[in-house]
Amino acid sequence: MAAADVVNLGEFEHMVLLAIMRLGEDAYAVPVRDEIARCTGRDVSRGSIYITLDRLETKGYLKSRLADPTPERGGRAKRYYALRPRAVDALKESRRALVALWSGLEAVLAQP
C-alpha cells in the first residue's frame, strides 16, 4: 500500500505534505505557501496550492476543518489541514526509498 502511494505522489504534492507537517497546528493555505517558498525558494502560484490541497484531501492524505471566522479575514473562516496517517506512511516510505537510493552516492556528488 505504502509503496504504491509513493508512486502516486508528485513532487509538488510531496512538498505540500511536508510543509503541513512542519507547520503542525497552524497549517492553512497561506502559511503552507510561505513555508514552501521559505524552504525551497520557489514561488508557487496560489491556485496550485489550493488545487493540490483539495486533491490530496480527495485522495485521502489530508483532513481539513473550518476554524471560527476572524475579523481580519473579513469574517471568513480559515480551512486548516492536517495529515492523515496514510500521508505520514507515504512520506516515510518515500524518504526511505530516496535515502536508500542516495546511499553510497556521496562520493559521486563530491566530485566537481
Binding site: N8, G10, E11, F12, Y28, A29, V30, S45, R46, G47, S48, Y50, I51, T52, D54, L66, P69, E72, R73, G74, R76, A77, K78, R79
Partner: protein
Amino acid sequence: MNDHFPVVLRLFARCIPGDLREPIAGDLHEEYLAIRERQGAGRATAWLWWQSLRLAVTFRWERAAHRRPLPPIGDELRGLGSMWDGLRQDIVFGVRMLRRQPGFTAVAIFALALGIGATTAIFSVVDAVLWRPLPFPHADRVMSLAEQRPRESRWFGVVAPADYFDWQRDSRSFSAMAAYAAQSPSGAYNLTGEGEPERVRPLQATSQFLDVIGVRPALGRGFRAEEETVGRHRVVLLSDALWRRRFAADPSAVGRTVAFDGRTFEIIGVLPAQFWWPSHPDIVVPLALDDHDRTLRAAHFLEVIGRLGDGVPADRAREELRIIGRRLAQEFPAENANHLPNLRPLRDALVGDVRTMLLVMLGAVAFVLLIACANVATLLLARAAARQKEVSIRTAVGAARGRLVQQMLTESLVIAAAGGATGVLLAAWSLSALRALLPASFAGLPGLDHLAIDLRVLTVSVTVSLATGLLFGVLPALAASDERLAVSLNEESRGGTGSVRAKRLRAGLVVAELALSLVLLAGASLLVVSFNNLLNVSPGFQPAQLVITRVTLPGSRYGEHPRVVAFFDAVFEQLAVAPAIQRVGATTSLPLDDSDSRLELTIEHRTADSPFPVRVHPRVVSTGYFQTMGIPLLRGREFTGHDVDTSGRVAIINEASARRYWPNEDPIGQRISIGETAEWREIIGVVGDTRDEGLDADADPAAYLPQHQRFESLGTGFERAVTLVIRTTGDAASVTPLIRTAVSNVDRQVPIGLVRRMDEFIGDSIAPRRLNFVLVSAFALVALALTSAGLYGVMAYLVTQRTREIGVRMALGASRTQVLALVLREAGSMTLLGIAIGVAGALGLTRFMATMLFGVTASDPAVYAGVSLLLAVVALLAVAVPSSRATRIDPLVALRDS
C-alpha cells in the same frame, strides 16, 4: 475597503467549488490587508484583482479534472501550474511537433511569410501615402481648391488667376488662401554666380502659401503681401538642402543675393529641413502676376490651396465658394459659364487616381494572404487527420476538448508567429526594391520619402499574423478535436478518409483557394490586357531614335522675341551638321506632357453657336518639328523659314481641331485668332493627332504656331521654355555631348536639362500602370502557385488515404481509366466549383478597377474564359501526379498494407 470582496466572491462562484470559496476569499483578505499595510491601497487592490482572476482561471481550467479519472502525474502537475505555465508547455510542445515535421513546417511558414510579407510591404506604402497625416500641422484642414469645368470633364481643374483673386477676396471660410503655379512657365531656374551653374526647381507661390500649410521658415522670414507685385518680387526662400549645398549652412546667407536666370533675388529666409512639398522645390519665390495676367479668366494655370478657418466645416466652405462661383459665372459668361469652384482635402488632390491603384494592390495582397491561410489550413487539416489516433487516445484518457483545441491553436500560432517574423523580414528587404520600382511620377506622393517598417506597420503585421494563426488554426483544431472523430480509431483501420465533416472542410478550403486565385488572376489579366492595349496605342509620332531635352532661356537676356529665335536658329545650325543627328526641332509642349494651357479660339466669320467657348491648346514649334517627330502632315503644308513676323501669320491645326471645329468643311485657308490678341492667322495645314495627356486619353484640339512669329497670349515666359527634339541616326547617348557643346557654343550661360530618350519618356508616362500590373501579376502568380500546391497536397492525401479502397476496386475489376476518372471527378468538381465562385466574385470585385482599365471592360468574356482555363489546366497538372499514382496502385500491396 471590503467592497471588492463581494465581487471577488461572485467571480469565484462560477469557478471555484463551494466549500473552498469562503476560505480562499478569507486567505486573500488576510494577504490583502498585509500588502495594503506595506505597499498602499492601490498596489493591494491591483494585487487582489490579479490574484482573484488567476485563481478563477486556474480553477475554471481545472474543473474538468475533478470530473475525470486522474491523468498521469506528469500531466496533472502541468495542468496545476498557472495558465501561463500551460501555455508555455503548449508552445514548447508545439515547437517540438513542428520540428519533427520540417517539410510541413517549412511549407507552412514559407506560404505565410509570402502572404504576411507582401501584405506588410504594401500596407506600409498604402499607409504612408493614404492614411498618415501630411507633414503639416492640422493637415486635415488644408484644402485644395479647384475649378470644376464639366464641359472639359474636369472636376478639379486648375484655376484662372482672376477667379482665384475673386475667391480670395470674397470668401470668409479660410484663414489663409494661396495659389502656386501649376506648371512653372519656365520649368527650372538657372542658378548662376559662385560655383557651377545649376538648375534649381522653383515653386512660385503667393504670399500666404506658408501660412496655409502652417510652415515657418527656419531662418529669416516668409513672404510679405506686397512681394506678390511685379517689381518687388525678387525675394527667395531657400530649401534647407540648397542652403547647405550652396551656402554651407551659413546663417548669414539670409540677406545676401543670388542670381536665378540672370536676375538678382534677395534671400529672405531658409525653409526648415523637414519642409516637404510634392514638387520638392529647391527654392520658393513669390508668384507675381502683372496687371494683365491678374485679369485672365480663360487661361488656367494656378493651383489653389486654402486652410479652413477654425470650426468651419469643408462643406460650408464649398457652399460659400460655389455662391461666389455662380456669381462669377453670371458676370463673366464668356469665360465662366458652367464653371464652379470645387474643394477637396489636399491629400486627395495629391494622391488622386493613385488611391484606387493602391487599394486594389492592398486588396490583391490580402487575397494572397487569405490563400496562404487556406493553404496552411488544408495542410493542418491533413495533418490533423494523421493525428486522429493521438487525439482519440488523449480524449479517451480524459483530455478535455478545450485543452486539445488550445494545444492545436498554440501550434498554429507558433507557425503564424514564425511566418510573420519571416514575412516582416521579407517586407523590410523588399521595401527598398519596391521603392526602386516606384515610377518617377510617384515622387509627389506624400510619405514615400520615409517608407519604413515602423511600429505602426509592425503592429499591423503582428495583428495580421496572429489573426491568420487563428483563422487557419481554428477550423482544423475544432475538426481534429471533434468528439465525433473519436470513432476514427475504427474508421482508420478500415482505411476511410476521416470523417465526412473533415473531408468537406478540406474540399471547401480548396474551393475557396481556387475562387480567390481566380479573382486575382482575373484582376491581373485585366491589368495586363489594359497595359498591352496601351503599349499598342500609337502616340501619334515615331518615338524610336528620338531624344529630348529641355532648354530654358533666362528672361533677362532673352526678353525679346528675335533673340529667342536667333538663339534656337544658331543651335539648330550647329546640330544640323553633326552626322549622328538626322533632324532637329523644338516645341513649347511635348505630347504626353499634359499641359493645361488652353486659349480661346475665334474663327473668322463665325458667331459662337454654343454657350461654351471654343478652345485649343496652343503650341509654338520650330520649322521641321513635325518631320523630326514623325507627326504626319495630312493636308496643306508645314512651317518654313519664311513664316516670320513680317510675312502673313499662319497656324497649323491638328486633326482633332479640324474634326471638331470644321466638321464639314476644309479648314485650310480659314482664319483664326488664338487668345486675346486679335491677330488673324491663316490655317495652312492639318497634322495628325498626338496623345497629349497620356496614351489613354483622346487627343484634344490643338493649334501649332511657328516659332518665328511672335505669340504673346500666354505671357512672356512661354516661348523661352522649349523642349528640343532630336532624331538621331544611332545611339542616343552619343548625341548628349553634341547638344551640350552646341548650346554652350551659342550661350555659355544656358544650361540644358537631362537628355532623355523619347521611349523612356513614354515609358514614364505609363509607369504607374506598369507598376500596378507587375505587382498585381506577381501576386496572382504567387496565388496560383499556392493554390496548385494546396490542390496537389489535398489530392495526394486523398489518394494515399484511399489506397485500400482503390485497391479493392481494382481487385474487383475496375480499370485504370475508371480509377483515374474517380480521382479526377473529385478534383474536377472542386475545380469547377472554385472557378464558378471565383468568376462570380471577380465580376463583382473588378468593377472597382474600372478606372484602371484601358480598352477592355471589367467583365471581358475572353479574359474570364482565359483565366478559368488557365486555372483549370494548373489544377489538372496539380492532380496529375496523385491521380497517376492512384492508377498504379497494386491491389495486392494495397490490401496487404492495410
